[in-house]
Symmetry: C2
Subunit: 469 residues, 2 copies
């Protein structure tokens, strides 16, 4: 890591953070003024000296059982997916609250919030010409339904928004397929988010995308999408990469493509869900907080094992390790499993609305899979960055020492306007987008050893964050 550049980047991040506070958060103005925790940061040598033994104890304890993985399997098997508004999500939350109480944590509670309720219903996609064959598809979350008989229309395949603009005259009355190969999530997810708007603008009757993922075993990926008020709403779905490839080849051969898309998705009235909260109260300054967690909801495919039962179980286990080792830090560590990350972020927003003005020294989220941990990403001051880098150096035995500039997570982003430093777990994410939002996101994609290592890494880092004077 280039240090000089790193420090400049941190400075840039902090300026951005300040700007965001000032510009992008009108609700901040109506908040009570934020209580800023004061702390004298420890230098690297002191961190290593003060927390070295504790880190060794945590690492040793983390590998002693596979409770976290066993609980993850139970959660996924017993309740299945946890889409916002589903009964399975609320039953999973009930179980988590009961288990957290059994673990003996403090202030275990669910904080209710209204969440959207989108229901997929029956859906299918069939190619009719040049050859009749079913296509592997998943409707995108938030999409409207087709008429009951489906939408049957010719298909126009485009490789980019620019190509759609260039061929806008051909799109009217057609189903547009955005066949954009995965480069990065950021570069391709916009076709999922905005594809229906862009296709409707040029008169398309429905839009489908190549799934947002680098590898496919005929595995379509769902995810959220949006409409614009002024633009006609059209159904929006994802095809497996193999199917998108095939349609693109057929069009390149000059063949006429006709597809039938059938979706019966519904947006029902908002319904109640809960953020799951449990605490390990601080021994000296319990009103000061480190908040950490994952999101409890998932998409309605697979069982959301990686996204994000893993993040919940890793942070849960981290807190349990601290409790079992009687490591009660100076400040309170608050565990939160946010609801509705996938299609609304209502849990994260509700948490910030209720608690944003409490003195948070750090907000941490694990939502990138709990594969082999590599370290942390952090957005905050350079002094804090250096302190956390020293804490990460204690994770050398599991190779999780990297500190990257820039960190955060969707559910903790509403705390940015409150000036709360943001951190996330960094892992070997090479297969994350293989499984993300697919039927394949099941417990076998994770393993107990890596989950324990993640829990250990989080426990060490959170303890230092909550304890350093």
């Amino acid at each position: 890591m280039n240090l000089q550049r790193t420090q400049k980047t941190i400075l840039a991040c902090m300026l951005l953070l300040a700007l965001l506070c000032a510009l992008s958060s009108p609700q901040l103005l109506s908040q009570p003024s934020v209580v800023k925790p004061q702390r004298r940061l420890l230098d690297s040598a002191t961190i290593v000296q003060r927390y070295g033994t504790i880190a060794r104890d945590i690492l040793a304890r983390a590998g002693k059982d596979s409770l976290a993985y066993t609980r993850l399997q139970y959660l996924c098997d017993t309740f299945g997916h946890r889409l916002s508004g589903s009964e399975s999500l609320e039953r999973a939350i009930d179980w988590m609250l009961a288990e957290l109480k059994k673990d003996g944590f403090e202030n275990v509670r669910g904080e209710t919030t209204l969440v959207p309720r989108w229901v997929r219903g029956a859906e299918s996609c069939e190619l009719l010409e040049p050859r009749r064959t079913p296509l592997a598809m998943l409707g995108l979350g938030g999409s409207i339904a087709t008429p009951p008989e489906g939408i049957t229309a010719p298909v126009l395949v485009v490789g980019s928004l620019d190509e759609l603009k260039a061929r806008a005259a051909e799109a009217r009355g057609k189903i547009v397929l955005f066949n954009v190969p995965f480069t990065s999530y950021r570069a391709t997810v916009r076709y999922r988010s905005d594809g229906a708007i862009k296709a409707a603008e040029v008169g398309a009757v429905a839009s489908v995308i190549r799934s947002v993922g680098p590898y496919s075993m005929r595995t379509p990926h769902t995810g959220s999408m949006r409409y614009a008020d002024s633009i006609a709403k059209i159904p929006h779905a994802a095809l497996a990469n193999e199917d998108a490839d095939m349609l693109a080849r057929m069009q390149a051969r000059g063949e006429r493509l006709v597809m039938r898309l059938s979706m019966s998705a519904k947006q029902l009235p908002d319904t109640l869900s809960r953020n799951v909260i449990a605490e390990l109260r601080g021994r000296e300054k319990p009103e000061e907080l480190v908040v950490m967690g994952g999101h409890v909801d998932s998409w309605d495919v697979g069982s959301g094992a990686m996204d994000d039962a893993g993040g919940c179980l890793a942070t849960w286990q981290a807190l349990l390790i601290l409790k079992e080792l009687n490591l009660r830090p100076r400040r309170t560590i608050r565990l939160v499993f946010w609801t509705n990350e996938e299609n609304g972020l209502r849990g994260g927003e509700d948490y910030a609305r209720r608690h944003g003005s409490e003195p948070h020294v750090l907000a941490f989220e694990s939502d990138g899979g709990v594969f082999k941990p590599e370290g942390f990403g952090f957005t905050g001051s350079a002094d804090e960055f250096n302190m956390y880098r020293a804490a990460a150096s204690l994770l050398a035995p599991i190779g999780a020492t990297a500190m990257r500039v820039g960190g955060g997570g969707a559910d903790i982003s509403p705390l940015i306007p409150f000036g709360v430093p943001q951190m996330n777990l960094e892992v070997d994410g090479s297969k994350y987008f293989w499984y993300h939002h697919t039927q394949a996101d099941m417990p076998d994609k994770l393993n107990p050893r890596e989950l324990n290592d993640c829990a250990a890494a989080i426990a060490v880092m959170m303890y230092v964050a909550a304890d350093a004077p």
Copy 2:
């Protein structure tokens, strides 16, 4: 390679071959006596000296275009799967025959043979208890249907045949799930082949298996299965590995499992299909033959790109390269795309019945995927092995020099009783059983460069086999 051991193994293989001729093939007795081609085998140095330049020319030519891959994509996209008895198989065969004629090969023809016709129909599998959720399943080829309302029964999960025997009393009236993790194809495929027999023997009403594959993205694998005349026929299907894992965990937790299996599969009367044949006639001894090919049929999932459009296209392209380079060997090279490999082997048996008594110096099949080629497997005499090893050494530029003792393929196995040496292409098969018999077997799983390398390797080896005096 341990040479002394290799030679002993070859000797053992030959003895086995002779024994098989004598014992296992009653039809041999009614065949006209086989004409044995006589040949003086060349030593290694002569092979290298005589065919070195030719091999270089073939390797250079093979990389010049991507015709083989373009044809594979066209075949898979245009006709889709090619299950025996389907219209899509026969349309694919029509197209292949027309293209082979356009290529200018000799004696291009389809040789008709009756094949079985199994049709999958609608099917589903749903877990009802402890939680209602659809399971990812594929019926196994040859299975009977369930009643129209499906079969609803408790589930007994076993990890082996031994466990089923030990728990036989618990199996009556249940659906047995054989949850046997993939170790090798040979070790696990028997649960696919014989699972319905074994489960019915202990009174089960249906049987399902964990899919035969080491890796899953919620991808069940189909494949052939059988019944025994004296044992009740029960429906037989495969679950995705993730689903089998989940059921096993639920049973281990002491939960009661109830499943509904619905299948509407039908075995229709046999119907006509064809072996696809084309030749490059020999310049000196056209009646002597090297036969090579792949199988034209596939399972009815995905588009059979890897299994085995790839084997057909690689051998086809190999013959085209020889033709375009005006490399006409002494003997005839006969290209065959056998039909019905997957669920009957009628094409391979028909070929042997019609042509087994012709003088074949070698039978070659590519049916292990056309990934990066590594060399060849061979069953025959030690002298021939050494000659072919010298030929493989010419493939050093593409790294396909390995010669392994023991080779063959399902479609050429009926030529064993005729004493025909057997060879197959060896490739990097590390992902072969990821895609085998799944919806994921689509053209993207192969790539043009590796397909061309396979074609080059096959062209060099077949040329030496057909030309060496």
